[in-house]
């Protein structure tokens, strides 16, 4: 039976959400087949922002690809850089000096807090509450100023190099970070009272958008999505990289599997990130920030390896296949949002449209990360 005949019988109609739409964070199109207010089928159509970073990885040398990493997931750009740099270092056998590792952890965790603050504001805007966005951006400005003073960029960072970082942090940065942590800690009760305990917000997210742990496993969903379904999977604890083993921090996870659980995971993650940053600042060692004798044009040995980091959105993985030349033979970027988004079709069947949008918001999607 043709689609038209079927839709007349079922009285369904097709509604296009996007590609230009205020609620989809980037250029995303979702073909909704609706039965009144209920969604029968939601098919995401992606690729509007596809720039073929993986081909670019094959066409340029390893070092020249570094700026690309900042453009894949621009909100949490340092994680992408860390993943790529870590994969190349793993294959080349480069050891990163300790101070550089500490600096990487501090800047990455600051980036995680900034990313979660952006998500918080955008999620509330999706639900119709416009004011928290401005408060989140107020806090985020401080982080961006700190990171700008050390990396030179506010959003698309290209800070990590093979063997370390390119710029050292100074006392101003340390003092600024400490004062930022104190300020954000004092503002968390305000967010709690204004957003978390807001009855209308709670009605919008509690019990909405249930994703079971089994679905997460089948689709490869990681990050706050799987942690909101009761599974404490965090690459920093389960597959520790860099110097995360030296810090005390908890992995928040909640078993409700709804949008509220994912929201609470991210709020708790901000608190835990601040703990990590404090511990890192307290025990920051002196020393070099770059490994010695890293060749200018890197040629890796033949072989392949996989390296993954816990990005703000999930497990970001890089697979580098090298054939011994200056360029990578194949560079695969495993994007967390890609896997998180792929379960939207299955989970949104039968939901109401506002609830589906709350679910979409709770994934924390950055479309360029999906499209690469």
């Amino acid at each position: 039976m043709s689609i038209d005949a079927q839709s007349v019988l079922n009285e369904t109609f097709v509604l296009n959400l996007g590609p230009q739409h205020p609620a989809t964070h980037g250029v995303l199109r979702i073909k909704l087949t609706m039965d009144g207010e209920y969604i029968v089928d939601a098919e995401p159509v992606i690729g509007y922002g596809h720039r073929m970073h993986e081909k670019m990885g094959e066409n340029r040398s390893y070092a020249k690809f570094l700026p690309n990493t900042g453009r894949i997931d621009y909100v949490a750009a340092l994680f992408n850089g860390h993943g790529y740099v870590g994969a190349v270092e793993r294959l080349a056998g480069i050891t990163v000096p300790e101070r550089a590792e500490y600096i990487r952890v501090i800047t990455s965790e600051l980036n995680r807090v900034a990313s979660h603050l952006l998500w918080l504001g955008a999620f509330l805007v999706d639900l119709g509450g416009f004011t928290p966005l401005l408060y989140c951006f107020d806090d985020r400005e401080q982080i961006l100023d700190l990171l700008e003073s050390v990396t030179g960029a506010r959003l698309t960072f290209c800070y990590y190099r093979f063997g370390g970082v390119c710029n050292d942090i100074d006392d101003d940065f340390v003092a600024g970070t400490r004062s930022f942590i104190t300020r954000l800690r004092s503002r968390m009760p305000m967010y709690d009272a204004f957003v978390t305990k807001n009855i209308i917000f709670r009605k919008r997210v509690e019990g909405i958008g249930l994703i079971s742990a089994e679905t997460c496993r089948k689709y490869g969903a990681t990050g706050p999505v799987i942690r909101g379904s009761g599974v404490s999977y965090d690459v920093r604890k389960v597959e520790p990289y860099s110097v995360y083993l030296k810090f005390n921090f908890d992995i928040p996870s909640f078993t409700e599997c709804d949008c509220m659980a994912r929201y609470k995971v991210r709020i708790e993650e901000m608190v835990q990130s601040m703990r990590i940053i404090e511990q890192a600042l307290d025990s920051l060692p002196a020393g070099p920030i770059m490994a010695e004798k890293v060749p200018r044009t890197l040629k890796l040995a033949k072989g392949d390896c996989y390296y993954n980091v816990e990005s703000a959105r999930g497990s970001f993985g890089v697979r580098v296949v090298s054939d011994g030349s200056e360029n990578a033979y194949r560079l695969k970027l495993r994007s967390p949002c890609f896997s998180n988004m792929s379960l939207f079709r299955e989970c949104s069947a039968g939901m109401l449209l506002p609830d589906a949008l709350a679910l979409l918001g709770s994934f924390d999607l950055v479309i360029p990360d999906i499209d690469r």
Binding site: L15, A23, V125, L127, G128, G129, T131, Y135
Partner: protein, 333 residues
């Protein structure tokens, strides 16, 4: 024509020009207040470019909207499409005819003034429905359907609350209703606990219903920006779009005026001295500020949450209030 008739004619024309100017100026400057108030909440300057303190912003917005090309979508019902923005402004202006701003300033004092206001208020929904349907756009149709459901659901508790108030005032004449509340805030209907213990709650129910009737957040499903783009107004550009917003602010104004008259004593001073137009305007603008404050503090409810609130919470409370008022009136009179 006798001199009386000429005087009456002059008076009518003055009132016509006067309250049209008042209504439209208010609607225009409420758009500025709508942008300045949240800017205070959100720690940012708000409009400051055009005029000192942004005071010429509504003028700039008006000129911009007038200068835009009016696009009509293909397949739209042209007559209805162009009629809808005009129709939506009419009820707001009409309702102002019978509202007493002070003892002397009332264009036409009808004995059934309150009834007339609610009759015309219901008319505005019709215009939005027409606009949404005539746009030949799925988003607009969904939004128009939501508007009707929402307005019907919230019309009922509002009318129940007003009816229970009419039991107390025994008249539909707005001028008389205010006169009964003169002499200080303890005479105001909101604190008239002799008539019904639930009077303050009745005022709250009226306020919530007013928010829903005027399609303001948290009940702005019509315009649910992040879901349906601009809801029923998606296909409107230029002044058509502008007129819908003028109508929204006019409705807010009318709702706040009626709320002031019914519950807050109209032009009465809280302590009984110097009553007059200024007190009416102060109270009305305080209510408008509350409306804007609520909009920027809460996210949007879901559609079924909105309807549940009305049918399962507000209507039972309003019915209880009605019964209580009738009971107490019978008991104490």
């Amino acid at each position: 024509m006798s001199s009386d008739m000429i005087m009456e004619l002059v008076r009518l024309i003055l009132y016509l020009v006067g309250f049209l100017a008042f209504a439209l100026l208010n609607a225009a400057y409420l758009t500025l207040v709508e942008r300045k108030v949240p800017s205070w909440f959100q720690l940012r300057p708000g409009p400051i470019e055009v005029g000192p303190w942004g005071l010429l912003q509504p003028v700039a917005d008006g000129i911009k909207l007038l200068g835009k090309q009016i696009l009509t979508p293909q397949g739209a019902d042209l007559i209805m499409f162009k009629l809808a923005p005009v129709m939506v402004v009419v009820p707001g202006v009409l309702c102002l005819v019978t509202i007493p701003f002070s003892e002397m300033i009332v264009p036409r004092n009808f004995n059934l003034g309150l009834l007339m206001i609610f009759a015309f208020g219901a008319f505005g929904v019709f215009a939005i429905l027409l606009g949404g349907w005539a746009s030949n756009n799925k988003y607009s149709s969904i939004a128009a359907a939501r508007v009707v459901a929402q307005n019907i659901a919230y019309e009922i508790p509002m009318l129940l609350v007003v009816i229970s108030l009419v039991f107390v005032t025994r008249t539909f004449n707005l001028h008389t209703i205010v006169e009964q509340q003169m002499g200080g805030f303890w005479h105001w209907n909101v604190l008239n606990l002799k008539a019904s213990i639930m009077m303050p709650i009745a005022f709250l129910i009226y306020f919530i219903c007013m928010l829903a009737e005027t399609n303001r957040a948290p009940f702005d499903m019509v315009e649910a920006e992040s879901e349906l783009v601009a809801g029923a107004f998606t296909e409107y550009s230029g002044m058509g779009f502008g007129l819908f917003f003028v109508a929204e602010y006019l409705n807010i104004m009318v709702g706040c005026c009626v709320g002031t008259i019914l519950f807050l004593g109209g032009w009465d001073c809280p302590f009984g001295l110097l009553p007059g137009l200024h007190w009416f305007l102060i109270k009305m603008y305080v209510l408008c500020f509350a409306v804007i404050w609520v909009r920027w503090s809460f996210p949007r409810t879901q559609f079924y949450g909105l309807l549940n609130l009305s049918w399962k919470i507000l209507i039972p409370f309003a019915l209880v209030n009605l019964l209580l008022t009738a009971f107490m009136l019978k008991l104490f009179h």
